[in-house]
């Protein structure tokens, strides 16, 4: 069955107020075409979850699409803090459920396995835990291990309405390969009620069948497949293209102030009709070709 959809159709399937797991990690495999289209469609009230914040979360937060973020922290790396996230947390306009990378992963893992809760050794004694205990309802509790009697911290499962996962290769049913490290993507997709796949390459199901060991996201969990080249730009997609350091710097500088960020949105998001318009604005194929990955290096 074909699940091929346009980016606009896939985004339109997500109602206001939905909980969305995003596949980005700092400047790698961020769901950027998804984020831009969600901003153009004016989606509001999202709860976004991510182990380590990516630019996809940052731009959605900056555009006012997100009410709550469930995450393990994160920055862009050497190019600095996610400025929109930082601003919204500092001024209190973004509700934050702050965890660590592993505790966020364990919450997805519990969700993917259908478990009622999951014990973890992390977080104990920290101010992160205090913050989570103050939430109402709290996503953390303690139980006694029935075998040893030891007390354990336990986490509530995280089961988003939809996971939006940026991949290298998928077929039209949504069977998808993720090349390179997968961080929390597999658990995100399996914990969520459904998954939207954004793929750089669309291949036949026969091609998937010839290397089934590579399939990380099973098609039966997928509702939409969006085939869109460079849909993670300016972030990297391992073995397909490198991150665009120049554009990330442009975004980093612009997002330092609300005014600069608005100008960025006006030019690169609202100023274009869709992702193809964005790619043309960047400089089209001539510009994008310079980002193509070397097959040995992967970047």
């Amino acid at each position: 069955m074909t699940k091929l959809a346009t980016c606009a159709e896939a985004v339109a399937s997500i109602p206001a107020g939905a909980s969305v797991a995003l596949s980005g990690f700092a400047t790698a495999r961020c769901a950027m075409a998804f984020a831009h289209e969600a901003i153009r469609q004016g989606i509001k009230g999202l709860t976004v979850s991510q182990c380590v914040a990516g630019i996809d979360a940052d731009i959605l937060v900056g555009a006012g699409a997100v009410d709550r973020i469930v995450y393990g922290g994160g920055s862009r790396g050497r190019s600095g803090q996610h400025a929109c996230l930082r601003r919204s947390i500092e001024d209190g306009t973004l509700a934050t459920e702050e965890f660590s990378s592993l505790s966020t992963t364990f919450r997805y893992l519990a969700g993917s396995l259908g478990l009622p809760f999951i014990p973890i050794r992390s977080l104990r004694g920290s101010d992160i835990l205090k913050g989570l205990q103050e939430l109402d309802p709290s996503p953390v509790a303690t139980v006694n291990d029935p075998f040893t009697g030891n007390e354990w911290l336990v986490l509530k499962p995280l089961t988003p309405d939809v996971a939006v996962v940026q991949v290298q290769v998928a077929d039209e049913d949504g069977n998808a390969w993720i090349l390179g490290p997968r961080w929390d993507n597999e658990e995100q997709a399996k914990a969520s009620a459904r998954t939207i796949v954004f793929t750089e390459r669309l291949v036949s199901t026969e091609a998937i069948r010839r290397a089934p060991e590579r399939t990380v996201i099973p098609g039966f969990r997928v509702s939409h497949v969006v085939h869109l080249p460079f849909s993670a730009h300016p972030t990297s997609v391992y073995k397909v293209y490198d991150f665009d350091a120049g554009h990330i710097k442009l975004y980093a500088d612009a997002s330092k102030t609300p005014e600069g960020f608005q100008e960025y949105l006006d030019e690169y998001v609202y100023g274009v009709k869709n992702h193809w318009g964005y790619l043309e604005l960047l400089g089209g194929l001539e510009y994008l070709s310079s980002l193509a990955a070397d097959p040995v290096l992967g970047y």
Binding site: F25, A26, T27, A28, C51, V52, G54, Y71, G72, G73, G74, S75, R76, G77, R78, S79, Q81, L85, R86, E90, E98, F99, S100, S101, L102, S103, T105, F106, L109, I120, R121, S122, L123, R124, G125, S126, D127, I128, G131, E151, W152, L179, G180, P181, R182, W183, D184, N185, E186, E187, T235, S236, Y238, D242, F243, A245, A293, L297, G298, Y299
Partner: protein, 229 residues
């Protein structure tokens, strides 16, 4: 491990006295051999190059770290207190006005689950503080066995600054000066921190890096000087 000086130090160890260590990055990269380590961040595919395994958080931080297989975790931070409690989240008043930084990432997980951790931090009074604004990653909490009672594994064994090396008193778990670097004086060390470390009876000078170690860092590991200036 996190990015920056911990990466330089770990790749140096691998090239010198510890060729058999397994280097792991939280997002799911094991034993990579990057052409250069002065990279943009953990998400920069340059640091994933020639890895033996590309995997996931659940595998890396779960079945390796949480299970208890990580011998040494390497961490950096904004602030550290006398008990090795680390802040990477915010500076200021968490309930009032504050400046937000990165948060935990895998930092809390490494601090809670590794057999021991080593912290690298710049030697400045605002970083070596009586108390941290926000405790992202636990050290020995308030000392005297509180960490063990909390069910946490390991704990910080060394804090390395650009002026000195610190350890921890085996009982009180307060930070203890272990050695000072050849370029620093005791006054230099103590006047640039906001608490008094335990002073040993004898204070050795930190062994300086060998010419070969310096050459490896400057010419091979971080030739562009992105981390090691």
């Amino acid at each position: 491990m996190g990015l920056g000086l911990p990466v330089i130090a770990t790749f140096l160890a691998k090239r010198t006295h510890a060729p058999n260590i397994t280097i792991m990055f939280e997002l799911g990269v094991i034993d990579s051999e990057p052409i250069k380590v002065g990279v943009d961040g953990l998400s920069d595919p340059r640091i994933w190059y020639r890895a033996k395994i590309h995997t996931s958080f659940a595998d890396m931080l779960g079945s390796v770290l949480h299970k208890g297989l990580v011998d040494v975790g390497f961490l950096g931070g904004l602030e550290i207190d006398p008990y090795g409690n680390l802040n990477t989240t915010l500076l200021g008043d968490p309930k009032g006005k504050f400046r937000r930084f990165t948060g935990s990432g895998g930092g809390n997980d490494v601090a809670s689950n590794a057999k021991r951790t080593v912290v690298i931090i710049r030697h400045e009074a605002r970083k070596l503080n009586k108390a941290v604004s926000f405790m992202t990653s636990p050290g020995y909490l308030r000392g005297n066995g509180e960490r063990e009672r909390m069910g946490l594994r390991g704990g910080p064994s060394r804090v390395i600054t650009d002026k000195a090396v610190f350890g921890f008193d085996p009982v009180s778990k307060r930070m203890r000066l272990e050695s000072i670097h050849p370029n620093a004086t005791i006054d230099d060390v103590l006047s640039n921190m906001n608490f008094e470390p335990i002073m040993p009876d004898e204070l050795p000078v930190t062994a300086p890096p060998t010419a070969e170690q310096v050459r490896l860092i400057r010419e091979e590991i971080d030739p562009e000087g992105m981390y090691a200036g």
